[in-house]
Structure formats: structure tokens, C-alpha cells
């Protein structure tokens, strides 16, 4: 038996509120989409039952404005239309701005034909043609995004593909031609989603951060500037309120995030126009990091092993000395350890302080490895001189 949905007599308050909002939004969109001309709030009130039951004009206006702002934030282009005197004449949602255009796919045998709808609002929709390699790229891009482990991004990519699948053979597009082995340390999907929402809405976020240097967990409040995936880890690029430096927080070291819930719908901060996430997120060696002054360090390449040849490309050539390179170093301790990994293929030439630091590291490491573990007095951690 087919039946309409029954009305519950006495809904629980918690269930009631979200449903009411969704119903109001759907009703408002339906009321706007059916019109050729802008509608006033009074006209909309007659067709949106959720507005008709509000207790006062002030409450009605407040509810409508909030709905309009939230739907716009969601991406629905509700326009406010003004009259010749500059006052608001009404509100409009053009079907062509809301509905997906008809999509077709060109192929060797012709172009696919989407099923068109012979009704007001749908007749005016434009048609957009995809080439097969473009559709393949979009499907592959969605696959790439899915592999990054951020559920919000994956949901958005999947949702986009479902829309395109209304007209296009998305399932038949070329499958991805490579595989990713996921990293071991993955942040929780909920955490990524929370940080993503804070970033999208420009809201401050407070969290507990496990500092690896000291192993201590501290509370931080930051303004998110971006999120980036590098070396198989997600990072949050963010700035503490009132500070200039944008720091990176590894997302899997973040716990207990709470997004500032005060003044919803408003931004807590602005991302400066000059900030470029791509440049900020550039992969760097540990010795390039830090806020101290960089020193010029000259290295001599004694051998052309594969690893040394790769390192040679990182340095700046020195005219007349093809086997030497200059490096800009901020952290000499990290640089000395990096040099050690070349097993003598690269040695420091200058400055003297760096040569001495490297020599001390070699001496200390040699002393450490010269004693077999069985002859050590205890397993206590080594103490650096």
C-alpha cells in the first residue's frame, strides 16, 4: 500500500528543530525557483509555512535573513534585487544559476543526449559538452582526492561526481592508473572535517597539540590559513591570534579541537592577500627551517654516488669548482646529520664552525658504534657532550 508520510503528533524538540529548518529551506527554494520575477518577503511568507508561523515580524525577518545567509554560504545564489530607489525590491533565485546545465559527452560516434525536462525553469538551462579525456581527468581527480584521507574533501568530490553522473557516464571513465599505499599515521576523519570547517568559515580553533620536541601536550588557539598534504601527512597552516608567523601543525598530533562558536556566520580573521599556501607548503629540509639567520656553507663532493648527485642539484654552483656547492643553512645540527647520511661522499669546507660541528658529530657517532650493545653498561640514553 502506498501512503503519504504520517505526521507525528508530538515530536521531540531535538528532532523537531533540524527538520523544521530543512523543510523551511526546501520550501523557500521551491518558492523562489517557481517565480520568473523577484519575490518580496511577504509573498514568500505565504508559501513557506515555516515563516507563516513565526510570532512577530522581527522574528520573521531574522529567520529569513539567517536562512538566506546560510543558503548563500552553502552555495545557493539567492540574489537580493533592489529597486530604482535602492531599497530591496525582492529576492530571486534564477533556475539557470541554481540547476546544473545539461551535460553532454562527445565521442567518435556523436554526442550523448541528456534527458531534457519540458517545464519552466529547465527549458532555459544551457548545455555544456565534455570531451572524453576531460571527463577522465575529472574522475581521476576525484580518485586522487579520495586517497588523501580527508573525509570532507572525499565527500565533496563524490558529491560532485554524483551530480555529473546525472548526464555523463562517470562510471565508464578511465580507472586510475596507479595506487597509493596509505601512510601508517592517519588523522581521524572527524578531526580533518572539524579543521576543514573552521578553515572554510574562518573561525578560530582551539586544540591540544602534542609537541614532539618535548613530548608535552599544550593547548593552542590558532587561525587556520590552509591545510596541505605533504610527504603523506596533513598539516594545518595557522597563525596564533596577534602573531605574524604562520606555523605548521601536523594534524595527527592534534586532539580535542573546538571551533569558536561565537558570532556564527562571521569571520574571526582574514587571511592576508599575500599569503600563498603553495609556497608556504613547499617541502623543505630540516636544515632550511627555523627563524635564525642563514649561514653560507660550502661543501665538497668527493664522490658521484646517486645520493650525492641528487644533493649536488640542491646546492648553488661555485664558478671554477665543479665539485663544490654552496648551501644556505639555518640549522647546522640538522645539516651536519644530513651530511653524515652521505657516508663521506660530501664533506664541509667552510665555515670553520660547521666543519668543527661535523667533526664532533663523526667522533661521537664513531665512539657510540665502536662499542657493541652487549658491552654497554646500560641501555640509558646517550648524553651528548
Amino acid at each position: 500500500m502506498t501512503h503519504g508520510i504520517a505526521t507525528r503528533a508530538s515530536p521531540a524538540r531535538d528532532d523537531y528543530m533540524p527538520s523544521q529548518k530543512i523543510q523551511r529551506w526546501i520550501d523557500l527554494l521551491a518558492a523562489l525557483l517557481k517565480r520568473r520575477f523577484p519575490a518580496s518577503l511577504e509573498e514568500l511568507t505565504r508559501e513557506v509555512p515555516g515563516y507563516a508561523i513565526t510570532v512577530s515580524k522581527t522574528a520573521l525577518r531574522r529567520t529569513f535573513e539567517r536562512d538566506k545567509d546560510e543558503l548563500r554560504a552553502f552555495g545557493i545564489p539567492i540574489e537580493t534585487v533592489t529597486g530604482p530607489d535602492g531599497d530591496t525590491a525582492g529576492y530571486r533565485l534564477q533556475p539557470g544559476h541554481f540547476y546544473l546545465p545539461y551535460l553532454t559527452l562527445r565521442s567518435a560516434t556523436g554526442t550523448t543526449k541528456p534527458k531534457k525536462i519540458d517545464q519552466y525553469g529547465y527549458k532555459t538551462l544551457s548545455t555544456l559538452t565534455f570531451e572524453p579525456d576531460e571527463l577522465n581527468a575529472v574522475v581521476a581527480a576525484a580518485g586522487r582526492v579520495r586517497q588523501l584521507g580527508d573525509p570532507l574533501l572525499a565527500e565533496h568530490a563524490d558529491s560532485a561526481l554524483r551530480k555529473l553522473a546525472a548526464d555523463l557516464p562517470v562510471d565508464a571513465a578511465a580507472p586510475p592508473d596507479n595506487e597509493l599505499v596509505p601512510p601508517r599515521a592517519k588523522p581521524s576523519p572527524e578531526l580533518l572535517a572539524t579543521l576543514g570547517q573552521a578553515l572554510q568559515n574562518r573561525k578560530r580553533v582551539t586544540f591540544a597539540y602534542h609537541g614532539m620536541g618535548d613530548g608535552v601536550e599544550t593547548r593552542r588557539t590558532v587561525e587556520p590559513f590552509g591545510m596541505f598534504f605533504l610527504n603523506q601527512h596533513w598539516y594545518l597552516a595557522a597563525r596564533a591570534p596577534g602573531e605574524d608567523t604562520v606555523k605548521n601543525y601536523r594534524v595527527n598530533r592534534i586532539t580535542e579541537p573546538t571551533v569558536n562558536s561565537s558570532r556564527p556566520g562571521t569571520h574571526d580573521y582574514q587571511i592576508p592577500g599575500g599569503f600563498d599556501l603553495r609556497t608556504h607548503a613547499r617541502s623543505r629540509h630540516a636544515w632550511e627551517l627555523g627563524t635564525g639567520d642563514a649561514i653560507d656553507a660550502r661543501m665538497h663532493f668527493r664522490a658521484n654516488s646517486g645520493a650525492a648527485s641528487a644533493a649536488l642539484r640542491l646546492g648553488e654552483p661555485i664558478p671554477g669548482h665543479p665539485q663544490d656547492r654552496r648551501f644556505r643553512v639555518r640549522r647546522t645540527d640538522a645539516f651536519a646529520r644530513w651530511l653524515l647520511s652521505f657516508a663521506g661522499d660530501i664533506v664541509p669546507v667552510s665555515p670553520r664552525s660547521l666543519v668543527d660541528e661535523f667533526r664532533g658529530l663523526v667522533r661521537e657517532t664513531l665512539a657510540h658504534h665502536s662499542v657493541p650493545p652487549s658491552l654497554r653498561p646500560s641501555a640509558s640514553p646517550p648524553v651528548r657532550p
Partner: protein, 318 residues
């Protein structure tokens, strides 16, 4: 769950039902990509009304049976245009592809992006911030080599590879049949049949110095070699010939423990067993930790480390 999430699902649900015919709820779960409980909750949200008689929404009649649902809508018969979030997600993926794919494919990637931008929902004057996320898989290795390998893989063509391991002075030349491209542990690899060795080998991108596509084609094995390697859990570090057991000091153990997903020992140190594939690579890898790591076994690795350090010390004293 926010109202926006629910609205997104509902707006994608209605066009899927828009023909007025009954649809199996089970099929919708697949089509809309959500679980049964959430689907029913969404349906309930738009059908259980407290302000007007049940089942009534202007132009939207919804009928539910035990296993099927049908809708008679006048609105929402087409999906909504892409939202900003959806566009940004796909743009991020396209940007990643652009850095990995052959130049010949850039035009398609670029125009795909243009097409997507033209189906986004936005106010005429609205700016879309598409630069809040950035992703790259690895900067190590020459991405042009990756592009050529991928092209050869697609066209099933052999390639001549110049390949040099970390400790080798000269690159060796190999002819390989690329069976697949894999990203693992922060590095790109080609899984390929090496004609010279007559077996499947794994080649790290950052050790590849040249890729030349050959005219001769190959036939891919019926079995998916890449899948088999992944199923077997084989590390992309060459063929393990033994086990390396090392202890990291408490000064660095936290980072290693996080990377390896292992708990620390009681004294804050970390003891780990690694597959030992390439002893030369292993020595160099361990040297980067200086005195903060000690080799528990095998002892010959420790001896090689000492020899190398003796050489470095003598060079520095000259």
C-alpha cells in the same frame, strides 16, 4: 551533522527519484552514497511536517512503502550546480594530476577545470577561494620521468631506464616493462618486469636518471602484479634479505614511533625491526641519526658503519 550536509544530500536525492516511479531504498543507498539510517532520516526530515498536513510540500509529494519510495516533484528535477566545496575538492585533485601527468594531458586537465568552473553555483560578483588546500605526494625524483613511465605503462611500451642506487657511482641501463605506478612511504615507484634480470623489480623514482620509451610493446601479465605485491604487504624497499634490529634513543624515538606506529619502550627508547634489503642504503640511512641509534643486529652492519666513520674522520683530519 549540519543542516547544510542534509540539504546537500536531499538535493542529490530528489533528482534520482524525479521520474515519479517507485525506487528501491536499497538502490538509493548506493546512488546517493549514504547509509540506510541517514537516508531514512533525510526522508523523514522533508516529509514529517508539523506546520502543515503530513506529506504536503508545495510541488513535492513523497510516498514511502516498506522497501520503495517515489516522489512527484516539480522542483529539484535537476541536480544543483557544483558547490564551492565540490569545485575546490576536484580542483585540488586536478592540480595534483597536473604535476604528475604527461604534458600532453595538461590541456585536458586545464579544460576540465574550466568546464567545472562554468558549472559552479555562485553569485555573479562572488570570488571563490580555491587555495585553502594544497596537496602533493612527493617532491623526490624527476616528475618528467614519472610522466614518461606512466605514458609507457598506458601504451604498454618497454622503456630503457638509467637507474642508479644511492651508493653507485654510475647508473646502470635496464630495459623494463612497467606494470604499474605506486606511491608508498612518501615515494613514487615503478613496478616493472626487468628484462635483464627476468623478474619483477621495484624502481624508486628518485633513483631514475633517464627514461626512454622504446617502440617494442609488451603484454601485461594476466595476474595484477601490483595488486599481488600490495596484498602480500611487501615493502617498497627492494627484496628483503634479512632483518635489521635497531634501537633509537629517547631523544628521537618519539618521531620514529609515530612514523612506524609502534609504542615506546619503558625508558623512552624504541626498538624496531626493519626489513634489510640493501645494506649500503641501510648504512647511510642509519648514519643520519648519528649517535641516537644503535644497531642491535646484524653486527656486520655496525662494522660497516664504523669503517665509514673512520674514513670520514681521516678525510676531515687531512
Amino acid at each position: 551533522m549540519t543542516s547544510s550536509d542534509q540539504l546537500r544530500r536531499i538535493l542529490s536525492l530528489i533528482p534520482a527519484l524525479a521520474d515519479g516511479e517507485p525506487h528501491r531504498i536499497q538502490d538509493l543507498i548506493w546512488d546517493v552514497g549514504i547509509d540506510r539510517a541517514l537516508l531514512l532520516q533525510d526522508l523523514q526530515s522533508i516529509t514529517e511536517r508539523f506546520d502543515v498536513p503530513g506529506g504536503f510540500v508545495e510541488g513535492l509529494q513523497i510516498f514511502l512503502e516498506a522497501d520503495t519510495i517515489s516522489v512527484v516533484p516539480n522542483h529539484f528535477l535537476r541536480p544543483m550546480r557544483l558547490t564551492k566545496g565540490e569545485l575546490c575538492a576536484l580542483e585540488l585533485g586536478l592540480a595534483m594530476l597536473s604535476s604528475e601527468r604527461p604534458i600532453e594531458e595538461h590541456r585536458a586537465i586545464h579544460t576540465a577545470r574550466y568546464r567545472l568552473e562554468s558549472v559552479i553555483a555562485k553569485l555573479p560578483e562572488e570570488e571563490i577561494a580555491s587555495d585553502l588546500r594544497y596537496a602533493t605526494l612527493s617532491a623526490a625524483g624527476d616528475l618528467e620521468h614519472l610522466r614518461r613511465l606512466r605514458e609507457a605503462f598506458r601504451q604498454r611500451r618497454r622503456v630503457r631506464l638509467r637507474y642508479r642506487k644511492a651508493a653507485e657511482e654510475r647508473a646502470s641501463v635496464r630495459v623494463i616493462c612497467p606494470y604499474g605506478i605506486v606511491f608508498a612511504s612518501g615515494m613514487w615507484y615503478a613496478v616493472a618486469h626487468c628484462d635483464g634480470a627476468d623478474e619483477v623489480r621495484i624502481f624508486r623514482l628518485d633513483r631514475i636518471e633517464g627514461v626512454e620509451q622504446l617502440e617494442t610493446k609488451f603484454t601485461a601479465p594476466r595476474e595484477n602484479v601490483v595488486d599481488k605485491i600490495l596484498r602480500e604487504g611487501r615493502a617498497f624497499q627492494g627484496m628483503p634479505a634479512g632483518t635489521l634490529r635497531v634501537r633509537y634513543s629517547p631523544r628521537i624515538a618519539r618521531w620514529i614511533a609515530e612514523r612506524e606506529g609502534k609504542p615506546l619502550d619503558q625508558d623512552g627508547s624504541l626498538t624496531v625491526e626493519h626489513p634489510l634489503a640493501d645494506s649500503e642504503w641501510t648504512v647511510r640511512h642509519l648514519l643520519q641519526y648519528g649517535p641516537e641509534v644503535e644497531v642491535l643486529e646484524p653486527s656486520d652492519i655496525r662494522e660497516v658503519i664504523v669503517q665509514r666513520l673512520d674514513v670520514i674522520a681521516s678525510v676531515l683530519s687531512q
